[in-house]
């Protein structure tokens, strides 16, 4: 009960929360406060309870989150400790405690490695390509779809073009291989006509175009869904007023539809920029044999092959950690940029 006394003595000097803040155990349950012998100060007493009492009060909610929290700590947070190995000549048998420290040596090795530079170059090029050629496709599709009046046609088209989003990369690449690969019927037909086999799937020079095409085939339809949702929130009377003022189709698209899409476009651009260093890991991994590492190596596959295939653990850990940190900075930077442009961004500052 000492806490009560403490609270009472501090009450006259400090503000409201301290004064009425302390409950009496056993005196009428949680949250009951000892205000009866307080001098009246003209302020409304604020009922305050300690964190522990809050935890007891809300225990059911906390218990509900425990399975997910445990899973995420075990599989997302504990592995983060392993990144310490980036500063070591790491070997899995010694672990973090048994491997010799080498400071920043691994990082220097990574930064001076030519294959890392190649992987970084490929990663950034693929991101650039996808921003230029993939990004506008869902917007275009959404505007087109929105102009279709028949709900039946819309439903059919949407159902069909959302579907590949749910295919695995293995399947998508297999489909491409079966249809435009060297052994495909199309290629066979071209050989018979003296055109040589199709080399779309194996030509390193055009690999970046192939990769972007595959991404468009798989995900552009699905990407449309969010733009469609944004378009559907536009107040139709805006269009009506614009028509009355003599605006044609293009004018309405430019001055009403696209501005309505602006927040979503910026949001997705930020997410994409923040995600610049993640480019279809499985997609690249699966096609590495066909086109070679020169064209297909991206940061993630680089880390995988250096670490797990060639056992250069410290080196791969350093590369992976650098990638993770730069990716984080990119997200934060892109979000900051969005705030400055007056957009909501991915997350908002509290308060």
């Amino acid at each position: 009960m000492t806490s009560v006394n403490e609270a009472d003595t501090t009450s006259s000097t400090h503000g409201v929360p301290e004064r009425v803040g302390t409950p009496v155990r056993g005196a009428g349950g949680r949250g009951m406060t000892t205000t009866h012998h307080e001098p009246y100060t003209g302020e409304i007493p604020v009922r305050r309870i300690t964190l522990w009492q809050k935890i007891v009060r809300d225990r059911t909610f906390i218990i509900m989150t425990i399975p997910a929290v445990v899973l995420i700590i075990v599989f997302n947070y504990i592995p983060m400790i392993g990144n310490i190995g980036a500063f070591q000549d790491y070997n899995p048998y010694g672990g973090v405690t048994g491997s010799p420290w080498v400071g920043f040596e691994n990082f220097l090795d990574v930064l001076t490695s030519a294959s890392f530079a190649n992987a970084l170059k490929n990663t950034l090029l693929i991101t650039l390509f996808s921003l230029l050629f993939y990004f506008p496709v869902p917007i275009f599709l959404a505007v087109l779809m929105n102009s279709i009046l028949s709900t039946k046609v819309r439903t059919v088209v949407q159902s069909v073009i959302y579907l590949p989003h749910f295919f695995s990369w293995v399947l998508v690449i297999t489909i491409f291989q079966q249809f435009v690969g060297g052994a495909s019927p199309l290629s066979q037909w071209m050989i018979r006509n003296g055109e040589g086999p199709l080399q779309i799937m194996t030509n390193p020079d055009s690999f970046i175009a192939l990769v972007t095409t595959q991404a468009i085939w798989k995900d552009a339809g699905w990407g449309m869904i969010i733009f469609l949702a944004a378009i559907s929130t536009v107040n139709p009377s805006l269009y009506e007023a614009a028509v009355v003022d003599g605006a044609g189709k293009m004018r309405r698209l430019w001055h009403i539809t696209l501005p309505a899409l602006r927040p979503v476009i910026i949001l997705l651009l930020i997410l994409r920029l923040g995600d610049s260093l993640n480019v279809g890991f499985e997609q690249m991994y699966l096609q590495r044999d066909a086109v070679g590492s020169g064209a297909s190596d991206v940061l993630d596959t680089f880390v995988y092959f250096e670490g797990i295939q060639y056992s250069k653990w410290g080196f791969a850990l350093a590369a992976g950690l650098m990638k993770g940190i730069v990716a984080l900075l990119l997200v934060l930077g892109a979000n900051n940029l969005a705030h400055r442009m007056g957009e909501a961004g991915v997350y908002q500052k509290a308060g």
Partner: protein, 335 residues
């Protein structure tokens, strides 16, 4: 006299026709070209001009191409997988017109051997994973749906941070290996069991449920568990279906975790088999090729594996697809 007649004729028409058609007489008065406007699409807003012929043709062409690019390969794969050897031979490897339909490829694949085994592994992983992941996410989403409860913000941040920073491939690989999960199907399930993104979608949906209903139940003495299972979950069937689909598709398509953790080829999921025997073109062990040569083409066999690799998605998709409403997806992004 004639005016009276036409009005009498128009009277009941007005009652039984949708309002768009009631616009007709006004158009008639304004531009005096009733025939031009008669076939107006009732879905078209009044203010919108009719499309030009070229515009319509252009739209039709683009839509046909877009749908064709997705649908024709799918169709070709399904039909070829169902065609007999002669049909496949005649067509040069891709059958588009169904002729000589046979289920021989599927019988061959599913009657045992590596593909049937892999399909079974995939089913086990997907069902177990989806049930665990959806349950765990729904629980956590409800636990986090009341801002102001104890530890609400720290726990929420614990999840959000994982969307921006991950431990990385190598540390995760080393840790999961050291947990002894190598060659265990749990390695395909547990690490991807909680997606912060899916969790936040559910949380957002739960937060949108009318608090009056929940308060009423609470006053009636329902525990939070009871509220979650008897009130919140039944009201959230749509979002749960979509989240379960997202998780399910993730588990079914899981490929790289199998590359990392499953060395034992008897525990390979279907995607690994698809890659090994179709993409890389290795010959499938356990397939009786004397039968294969007679009744079906190996191309059909490959196409049948591709169909199997997507079949559960095709089966579930139509039921969940109508729930991909703007609410579920857009709500998540807005929050």
């Amino acid at each position: 006299m004639s005016v009276e007649l036409s009005e009498a004729a128009r009277g009941p028409q007005k009652v039984f026709t949708p309002p768009e058609i009631a616009v007709l007489p006004i158009d008639h008065r304004i531009d005096g070209l009733p025939n031009q406007r008669r076939h107006r699409n009732p879905n078209r807003p009044v203010w919108e001009e009719s499309p030009s012929t070229w515009g319509l043709i252009g739209k039709f062409l683009i839509l046909t191409v877009v749908v064709g690019i997705v649908a024709i390969p799918m169709w070709g794969i399904v039909v070829t997988s169902l065609s007999d050897a002669k049909t496949v031979q005649d067509s040069g490897g891709l059958v588009l017109l169904p002729k000589g339909i046979t289920f021989a490829s599927y019988v061959q694949l599913l009657s045992g051997g590596v593909v049937a085994k892999a399909a079974w592994v995939s089913v086990i992983v997907t069902v177990t994973g989806t049930v665990i992941a959806t349950t765990v996410s729904a629980l956590a989403a409800y636990g986090l749906s009341k801002p102001g409860t104890a530890l609400h913000r720290p726990i929420l941040f614990l999840f959000i941070i994982t969307m921006f920073f991950s431990a990385g491939l190598i540390p995760t690989y080393l840790w999961i290996s050291s947990l002894g999960l190598r060659n265990s199907l749990w390695a395909l399930i547990l690490p991807t069991c909680v997606s912060a993104f899916n969790l936040l979608i559910m949380r957002n949906f739960f937060m949108g449920i009318d608090t009056g209903i929940i308060e009423a139940a609470r006053i009636d003495g329902a525990s939070e568990w009871r509220i979650l299972f008897s009130i919140v979950m039944p009201m959230s069937k749509a979002v749960t279906a979509v989240i379960a689909l997202f998780y399910g598709v993730g588990f079914w398509n899981a490929f790289f975790n199998a590359v990392l953790y499953i060395d034992d080829s008897s525990k390979w999921p279907l995607q690994m088999v698809l890659r090994q025997y179709v993409l890389q073109g290795q010959s499938i062990p356990g397939v009786d090729f004397t039968v294969a040569q007679g009744e079906m083409n190996t191309v059909s066999l490959k196409m049948a594996i591709m169909v199997l690799a997507v079949l559960p998605i095709l089966v579930v998709y139509p039921f969940v697809q109508r729930h991909f409403t703007k609410g579920v997806i857009f709500g998540a992004i807005k929050g």
